[in-house]
């Protein structure tokens, strides 16, 4: 792959940002490719996990933040577990997502819809109310009929709870509000 390194990139700054956010040092990577070899989602990524790390080393922020790869990572941690240099590749992916979000870069995969729907379920009830999560996801993602076919199957097997449980929900809501306020102020 041919790569043009932008002269303006500040190599040190991006590396330091990542060190702060992902708590790992990408400079340690010597490109053995073990992370890529074990990654179950590599087949759908536009740049492989080891390339993501290489681009981070080179300070190519735009390239990684606009990649599909950071949104396709499923955090299975196979990469970080196998890295001979102890680089937390999964942590870098997670950190890059947070940076992308703070810079208002649109995710390249449907991850936000589920996360939002999930978080609002916890916020509302204290525990997850799964029919609500799926319904919320379908609404937010526009895939209205997604998995609807499973609903009667789950009902027959009594594997769905129709009524949400409210547990410490007002306390949980306060925790959400305080954490969101604090995260914004950092």
């Amino acid at each position: 792959m041919q790569v043009n390194i932008n002269k303006d990139v500040n190599l040190l700054e991006f590396g330091e940002d990542l060190k702060q956010i992902a708590e790992t040092d990408v400079k340690k990577c010597y490109q053995c490719g073990k992370c890529t070899a074990g990654c179950p989602l590599n087949y759908l990524m536009d740049i492989s996990p080891s390339q993501v790390i290489r681009f981070c080393q080179l300070g190519m922020k735009e390239k990684v933040l606009n990649s599909r790869s950071i949104w396709y990572c499923i955090f299975c941690d196979t990469c970080s577990t196998r890295c001979p240099q102890g680089v937390d590749i999964k942590g870098v992916m997670d950190g890059l997502r947070r940076i992308a979000r703070s810079e208002k870069i649109k995710p390249k995969a449907d991850v936000r819809a589920l996360e939002k729907s999930f978080a609002s379920s916890i916020y509302s009830f204290g525990r997850v109310y799964e029919p609500g999560v799926v319904a919320g996801f379908n609404l937010l993602s526009g895939k209205l009929l997604h998995d609807v076919i499973l609903f009667p199957l789950l009902l027959i097997k009594r594997k769905i709870c129709l009524i949400p449980h409210f547990v410490r929900s007002s306390e949980v809501r306060k925790v959400f509000k305080r954490a969101r306020k604090k995260e914004r102020s950092i």
């Binding site: 499923i74 299975c76 196979t78 947070r98 978080a119 916890i122 789950l154 925790v175 969101r180």
Partner: protein, 289 residues
């Protein structure tokens, strides 16, 4: 043994079979384990990509609940287990993040309690010898692939459960039942996990590989310890078969159900009838029912 059970949201809704078979074992083995009354969601994988502080504060609430009743925590769901442990780890560091968690919760949470997976308690504390004494039926002749998934073994320094490439704990339990725990390479290969809802096709691709590898290595059934792995392999097995134009017909058991069978517990109590891929033809065929 002084544990409080944290079932987590999945066991309470989509995985009652795991919940019921766990409770049946606790009762049968006369273990002194009760459910934490006011447990809340651990945050699952939906919170940490957005707000790290919140992802650590939510499970800390449950640590606080267990502290109130002065008990250690017993968990079944690996994702809950991971999030509780990560929160505990963060609370122990006593750094800026720890302070943040305390501030967000508006109280200090003591992280010194133990958090254990039920399988660890069975093997390391209850003891294999005692479990074997309770066995009334050998599941001899049944070939089972134990599938651990990712979260229970990784990250190793947080989970400290077993070897992340070739774990043995569930294999030990399967062997105890008299069944054969087959040797196979995909014990900790990812099933696609939370992509089940958002990107189902990814899950179908990954689980296809897992089912195929299990079958190739001679498995007649798979044993799991994660509710999400179970959904992806059991509930979605028909869709996997359709996508790849093949037939697996591999029953997916929770390890607790196989243990219960070997203890002679009622299949209804173990919720075997709630599995989507029916295990009954296989069990009858093997003379185990």
């Amino acid at each position: 043994m002084n544990y409080a059970y944290y079932p987590g949201c999945s066991l309470e809704s989509t995985s009652p079979d795991f919940h019921l078979s766990t409770k049946a074992l606790i009762e049968f083995l006369q273990m002194d384990i009760e459910e934490i009354p006011d447990w809340t969601c651990c945050g699952a994988s939906a919170i940490h990509p957005d707000n790290k502080l919140l992802s650590l504060a939510l499970p800390s609430l449950t640590l606080d609940s267990a502290n109130k009743i002065k008990k250690d925590i017993m968990v079944q769901c690996p994702a809950c287990y991971a999030h509780l442990r990560e929160a505990q780890h963060a609370l122990k560091l006593e750094d800026e993040m720890t302070e943040g968690i305390h501030e967000v919760l508006n109280k200090k949470v003591d992280p010194s309690l133990n958090i254990k997976h039920f399988s660890e308690i069975l093997v390391h504390e209850y003891g294999m010898d005692k479990l074997e004494e309770k066995r009334v039926k050998s599941l001899e002749g049944l070939k089972v692939a134990s599938y651990y998934g990712c979260v229970i073994v990784r990250p190793k320094k947080v989970m400290a459960y077993d070897d992340p490439e070739n774990p043995q704990l569930m294999d030990q339990l399967i062997t105890m039942t008299g069944a054969t725990a087959i040797d196979w390479p995909f014990k900790t290969k990812c099933c696609g996990a939370g992509n089940s809802i958002s990107r189902t096709e990814v899950v179908l691709d990954l689980t296809y590989e897992i089912l195929r590898m299990a079958k190739q290595n001679g498995a007649e059934a798979i044993s799991v310890l994660c509710p999400l792995c179970h959904i992806n392999l059991d509930l979605r097995q028909k869709a996997i078969e359709k996508r790849y134009k093949t037939k697996f017909n591999l029953p997916i058991f929770y390890y607790t159900q196989l243990l219960g069978l070997s203890f002679g517990l009622d299949p209804k109590k173990l919720a075997l009838d709630r599995l989507f891929v029916s295990p009954f033809p296989l069990l009858r065929n093997k003379g185990l029912l």
